[in-house]
């Protein structure tokens, strides 16, 4: 409630009403300070904006409407703001990124569906509706992520992953302190996060316990992904295949004999009864036809 107040008041001093409305809007997101001041390392230009537009139209348009047209979905509670509005444009780039990342109530999180780069594209597109916007570029250099060495070792005794992260700077190894690390198991449609996202300790380490009931393949193998995010070094991830899951080899759902299955897998009783019926019918018919044959032979021409 406190920190944005001064700044917002100075910007929107001309209208108490607007100020009040905006205050309550921004405050409710509770964006952490270090996130709020983040800036894009990508220069916003026509190309990033047009890429962002496509992403916006696919993911945001249905609720927020076309920016500037006021066709946002007003039946929702809270009403999704019109994003070219003063209120929305006064959010910092970092705040917008945070909102995209976390989501809230009606608004979904895009953490798993959009990469950070794509989110900056969306923000680039939205900033195109604000004539007064001047981008503050971040000094962040994405290529620095190449310096990071991320090691994840599975400790069988503890049943946990020991994660160590450091950067090979020119002046030697530098432990990454306070970086976010998270552990995922790769699944068919998405990655399942194990436990919570942790922060590396003073020596650049973190430990994430691996549950013992995650299904793997037939031999219990599964693919584990460790992701690290550091404000200075960006995103790094490492993947490994380990046999630490529960071996899973369930039969196909159409294996058993069942009334609904294909003819080859019909229940025996129905095969038996049907054949019995047809065969006894044929026997009767053959008997009758044979009678008719005898009949014809025995008669006089």
């Amino acid at each position: 409630m406190n920190y944005p107040t001064k700044k917002l008041k100075s910007i929107l001093a001309f209208s108490f009403m607007i100020c009040f409305a905006f205050q309550s809007f921004a405050a409710s997101w509770n964006v952490p300070e270090d996130q709020k001041t983040r800036n894009s390392y990508i220069k916003f230009d026509a190309s990033t904006a047009s890429q962002g537009e496509a992403i916006y139209n696919a993911n945001c348009l249905s609720c927020h409407g076309d920016p500037g047209k006021g066709n946002n979905l007003k039946s929702l509670n809270p009403i999704p703001p019109e994003l070219s509005s003063v209120g929305s444009q006064n959010l910092t780039d970092g705040e917008l990124l945070y909102i995209l990342n976390t989501g809230r109530a009606v608004m979904p999180s895009f953490k798993n569906s959009l990469s950070e780069e794509k989110m900056w594209h969306v923000i680039s597109y939205l900033r195109g509706f604000n004539k007064n916007y001047v981008q503050t570029l971040s000094s962040f250099d994405p290529s620095k992520s190449k310096l990071v060495k991320l090691v994840a070792n599975f400790d069988k005794a503890k049943n946990a992953f020991l994660i160590v992260a450091y950067a090979n700077e020119k002046n030697g190894k530098k432990a990454l302190v306070g970086s976010e690390v998270s552990l995922f198991v790769k699944r068919r449609f998405g990655n399942l996060q194990i436990d919570k996202t942790l922060k590396t300790d003073g020596s650049g380490q973190a430990e994430i316990v691996f549950p013992n009931d995650i299904p793997g393949n037939k031999t219990g193998e599964l693919e584990v992904i460790v992701k690290l995010f550091d404000l200075n070094y960006g995103e790094v991830q490492t993947t490994s295949r380990l046999a630490i899951g529960v071996p899973t080899n369930k039969p196909g759902l159409n294996e058993q004999r069942a009334i609904w299955n294909v003819l080859e897998k019909a229940p025996y009783w129905i095969l038996f009864l049907y054949s019995l019926g047809v065969i006894s019918f044929l026997i009767f018919i053959l008997y009758i036809l044979n009678n008719l044959r005898k009949f014809r032979i025995s008669g006089n021409k």
């Binding site: 009334i259 609904w260 299955n261 294909v262 003819l263 019909a266 229940p267 129905i270 095969l271 049907y274 019926g277 047809v278 019918f281 009767f284 018919i285 008997y287 009758i288 009678n291 008719l292 005898k294 009949f295 014809r296 032979i297 025995s298 008669g299 006089n300 021409k301």
Partner: protein
């Protein structure tokens, strides 16, 4: 000597209808033209798709399926009269056996066509034989209806053999090829004891065999419904319920046919008021049986009023199908029972009227069984056009429904024109028996 004359008179009387006359030609012409009109409606359905019918994704089975059930039901009478009654030694039914068999054969043969008319892709009919899954009740239905047709044909044919010989010998004014066909089909009948025994044995075997097959065709047809989890169909008594209903429909059809043949072919001496009285009693008996199943079928769900059943019962008793339901139950079942219990109504003309009521009621009854259930599935019917949730048959659909009825009439007319409708040989034998007893 008098015996001789008698049997000649019988032969002459019963062979008389077998000739082409003006009435027959006109009647066939009318039937053929109507059939062409109806087949044109079916052509429209093939061309434009089943959108030309009143069916939709919810009521996806409509008049065609009710019609199919009605056809299968009507065909069951062959088994009742020729099978059950002959095994029970009910001699009075003997002259009616052939009429019943002709009706059975005609309805069974056309029932298959009715179901083809309901198919979205009749061009893929062979898939049923190529890819058939015997777990599907449709496969059972195909199997038993085919079997029933074969057995009915044999049941019609075997007792007919002596009569065919008579036809070949006694019929004048028939072209030589027709005589050859009669001759060929009579399989060298020469009235030897061996041949008599073979006919007796075969007829008896078929009379027994036809009972389980006939029960199967209608039970399996009822399972097309009872094997689904739908309110109004999900019932364990559907098999016997349908079979009892089939006896009612079939008996009514035989009575109407009896009346018409008696009038048109002048068979008053052979189909007498005694026969009408007897078959009237039979109709009461089977109707009472059917009434009993009806009470079961409606009373049990109406007592419990489970959610889906309650919709169904409500629709039938007081809802949008109530008028049709009560007309069917009262006019097609209860009133005929009351009237036919009284002897004065068991006369040819009142029985024609009552049987017509019963037969129409039987058709409507199948409609009442099929449509209301489909209109009320478990989940609400929403986001679809009104047409999908409330079924109204279209003109094309009605014409396509009439087409198989005309076909049945055609088959009956033709069969009744080429073979004696009353068994000649048996009637003569029966007369001789009576005569020998008198002595």
């Amino acid at each position: 000597m008098s015996e001789r004359i008698n049997s000649e008179k019988i032969t002459a009387d019963l062979l008389r209808p077998i000739r082409l006359n003006k009435g027959f030609m006109v009647w066939m012409g009318v039937l053929s033209i109507s059939l062409l009109v109806c087949l044109f409606a079916y052509f429209l359905q093939l061309r434009d798709g089943m959108i030309v019918t009143g069916l939709g994704d919810y009521v996806s089975w409509g008049m065609y399926i009710s019609n199919f059930v009605f056809f299968v039901a009507s065909s069951l009478i062959g088994m009742l009269i020729s099978g059950v009654l002959s095994l029970l030694k009910q001699k009075w039914a003997a002259p009616l056996a052939r009429i019943a068999e002709i009706i059975a054969l005609a309805f069974a043969a056309v029932a298959g066509l009715v179901i083809v008319m309901d198919m979205g892709r009749p061009d893929r009919l062979l898939n049923v034989f190529i890819h058939g899954r015997i777990q599907s009740p449709i496969l059972w239905d195909v199997t038993v209806i085919t079997s029933y047709m074969i057995v009915s044909a044999l049941f019609l044919y075997i007792p007919l053999i002596p009569d065919l010989k008579i036809c070949a010998q006694k019929l004048t004014n028939i072209p030589p090829f027709a005589r050859k066909i009669y001759e060929f089909l009579s399989l060298n009948w020469s009235d030897t004891p061996v041949q008599r025994e073979l006919i007796r044995k075969s007829t008896r075997t078929i009379a027994i065999l036809i009972i389980p097959i006939a029960l199967a065709i209608h039970t399996v047809t009822s399972w097309l419904f009872a094997n689904t989890s739908r309110a109004g169909w999900d019932s364990t008594i559907f098999g016997p319920y349908f079979v009892a209903g089939a006896f009612v429909a079939g008996t009514a059809a035989v009575i109407i046919a009896m009346f018409i043949f008696r009038k048109v072919y002048h068979l008053e001496e052979y189909i007498t008021e005694f026969h009408f009285d007897k078959i009237g009693q039979l109709l009461v008996l089977v109707s009472l049986l059917y009434l009993y199943f009806n009470v079961n079928e409606y009373m049990v769900p109406a007592y419990k009023m489970k959610r889906a059943d309650a919709f169904h019962i409500h629709e039938l008793f007081v809802g949008s199908h109530a008028l049709l339901f009560w007309i069917t139950q009262l006019g097609g079942l209860i009133i005929p029972i009351i009237l036919l219990i009284l002897k004065p109504f068991r006369k040819p003309i009142p029985m024609l009227v009552i049987s017509t009521m019963v037969l129409i009621g039987s058709w409507l009854k199948r409609y009442i069984i099929v449509i209301p259930t489909m209109e009320h599935p478990y989940l609400p019917v929403q986001n679809v056009p009104l047409k999908f949730s409330v079924y109204t048959p279209t003109l094309i659909e009605i014409l396509v429904t009439i087409a198989p009825m005309i076909m049945v009439l055609l088959i009956i007319t033709v069969l009744a024109k080429v073979i004696p409708i009353i068994p000649i040989h048996e009637t003569i034998e029966h007369q001789q028996e009576i005569a020998s007893k008198k002595k």
